[in-house]
């Protein structure tokens, strides 16, 4: 891998060297490295681009890294990755995609990730998106995440897009069975003329299921964001979604929440707050010696931490 690709890898997966455990690194549409373990197998799909990640039941304290980096301007790819997580697992999956575009043509990555998490398994899934390069070509990222949680399973997803992605449409669909829980924490910052859309649909199908969707975003310059969430309660369940956005400059942010309760014991809540940085927060930090710009940066950094 070249220096640009290594930098992307460090940004999206925190990798400065070959990771421990299972991994599959994809660079410019091709496999750049892979390792499997006794409990985690990675198999190349034969019918289309992508991999199957199979994690044996009972696997604990193991991780899988599957970062993707694109540095070839104009490259467009769709990748289908399926995760099969066995019963009683407790694993961490680090994904993420970095695009460096130094040319005039648009570069685009569409990652379609499906998770089949079996009974009582626990997954932490981290996905970071990052763009760099001074080319005029757009950097486009369209991740789709499909989650199936079996009885008692849990998945915590942390998704971060802080810099450099011109356009993104992020679609997440989830089915949550009895006593299963899903937590999604999303952080997005857009600037320039960037546009980001987030679309969550979570169907709580089993008694005692729960979902917590937390989105924090900052829209700067002329960028725009759309947050859409649909939570459907079909059983005795608890659903909460929260969209908290800071708007700056000439940016725009829309939040469209939708809650549907099809069961009398479905307890669903949505909270949304969009606003500029509070003047008193800026003043407080300025009384501690920061300039207005430094105070603004500190507030944004904390908000997205």
């Amino acid at each position: 891998m070249d220096a640009i690709q290594q930098e992307l890898l460090a940004q999206v997966a925190g990798l400065h060297e070959v990771p421990e455990g299972a991994y599959n690194i994809r660079a410019n549409g091709e496999m750049a490295g892979r390792n499997t373990t006794a409990n985690i197998d990675i198999i190349t799909k034969e019918d289309r681009s992508g991999i199957d990640i199979r994690i044996k039941p009972g696997t604990k304290a193991e991780s899988v890294h599957i970062p993707v980096v694109l540095s070839q301007s104009g490259l467009k790819e769709s990748v289908y990755n399926d995760f099969f997580v066995g019963e009683d697992c407790d694993v961490t999956i680090i994904a993420g995609c970095g695009i460096h575009n130094g040319g005039a043509a648009a570069s685009e990555h569409s990652g379609i990730h499906r998770f089949f998490v079996e009974k009582n398994a626990k997954v932490r899934y981290v996905e970071k998106h990052y763009g760099s390069g001074d080319g005029s070509g757009e950097r486009i990222m369209n991740p789709t995440t499909e989650i199936h949680l079996a009885q008692g399973a849990s998945l915590e997803m942390e998704t971060v897009q802080i810099k450099g992605i011109d356009s993104t449409s992020r679609v997440t669909r989830a089915q949550v069975a009895e006593e299963a829980s899903l937590v999604i924490k999303e952080k997005i910052m857009t600037h320039g003329k960037q546009h980001a859309e987030t679309d969550f649909t979570v169907n709580m199908a089993g008694a005692g299921s729960s979902v917590d969707l937390i989105s924090r975003s900052v829209a700067k310059d002329d960028s725009s964001q759309l947050f859409r969430s649909r939570i459907v309660g079909n059983a005795s369940c608890h659903g909460h979604s929260e969209c908290d956005a800071i708007i700056m400059d000439q940016a725009s942010v829309s939040a469209i929440p939708e809650l549907t309760a099809n069961h009398i014991d479905a307890n669903l809540i949505h909270e949304a707050a969009i606003g500029k940085i509070a003047g008193e927060q800026l003043i407080k930090l300025m009384t501690l010696g920061l300039t207005e710009k430094e105070a603004e940066e500190q507030i944004v950094r904390g908000f997205l931490k």
Binding site: K284, L285, L288, I299, G302
Partner: protein
């Protein structure tokens, strides 16, 4: 030394100009100074003018002989003016450690945070990674606010009604903190307060009324008049 020369401040209220402060002249030495007076007398306005949050309509502010009237909030903070808000400001994602590090002007480690928080009666272990948000009580926020001011080691530390919105238990602790500050802190401590126990710590008391200085003097000179010593209360006076 902080010097206010002929400070006036006007604000607009429903289309009418209202004079909040009128020709304030005041010299404040490196002492514990309390500014008191009825609601609406201009105490908080005065404090905010010193910190640069409000700009006076007229007058000059000097810090150690240097005119700081046109200096921004940031410049004044860097010159050594600290300001603790009446209602501490809350943040999402910014922790106690972050704020104390900003206040100290450098990254701080756990032992430094422990020292700073213990000064205000808090245990670092319980607070260092807590966000400065609504999960903290009014009393906790007030003490963290004070710890920030102490971390800055300011020449002039201003506290705007530190007793506001806290319970009796927190107030007792607050008094202890200010008594300790009075003993140990170098420089000027300027407190806006209505509380007798805080006024009783002060070396000097400034009594404001209707935007003007009514009296300035030592605690012994001002407190008896404030507490009505030697005079009957109004109900009794009316009946006499």
């Amino acid at each position: 030394m902080l010097e206010l020369k002929n400070i006036s401040f006007q604000a607009e209220d429903e289309g009418k100009e209202i004079e909040i402060l009128k020709n304030i002249d005041l010299k404040i030495e490196d002492q514990f100074v309390a500014v008191t007076g009825p609601n609406g007398s201009g105490k908080s306005t005065l404090a905010k003018i010193v910190a640069g949050i409000l700009t006076p309509t007229e007058g000059q502010i000097l810090l150690d002989g240097v005119d700081i009237t046109d200096k921004s909030i940031t410049e004044r903070a860097r010159l050594g003016i600290g300001f603790a808000f009446q209602q501490p400001v809350r943040f999402k994602g910014i922790t106690v450690k972050d704020m104390l590090s900003i206040a100290a002007g450098r990254d701080t480690d756990i032992s430094e945070i422990c020292n700073m928080l213990s000064e205000v009666g808090l245990c670092a272990r319980d607070y260092v990674n807590r966000e400065i948000n609504a999960s903290l009580s009014g009393g906790e926020l007030k003490r963290i606010e004070i710890a920030m001011i102490m971390a800055r080691k300011s020449k002039v530390s201003i506290f705007d009604e530190p007793e506001a919105g806290i319970d009796l238990w927190s107030f007792q602790n607050l008094i202890r903190v200010f008594e300790k500050m009075h003993r140990e802190v170098q420089g000027t401590i300027l407190i806006i307060s209505h509380q007798e126990r805080i006024l009783n710590i002060a070396d000097q008391i400034v009594l404001l009324s209707d935007g003007r200085i009514e009296k300035v003097g030592s605690r012994d000179e001002i407190m008896p008049a404030l507490m009505g010593v030697g005079q009957p209360c109004k109900t009794l006076a009316d009946k006499l």
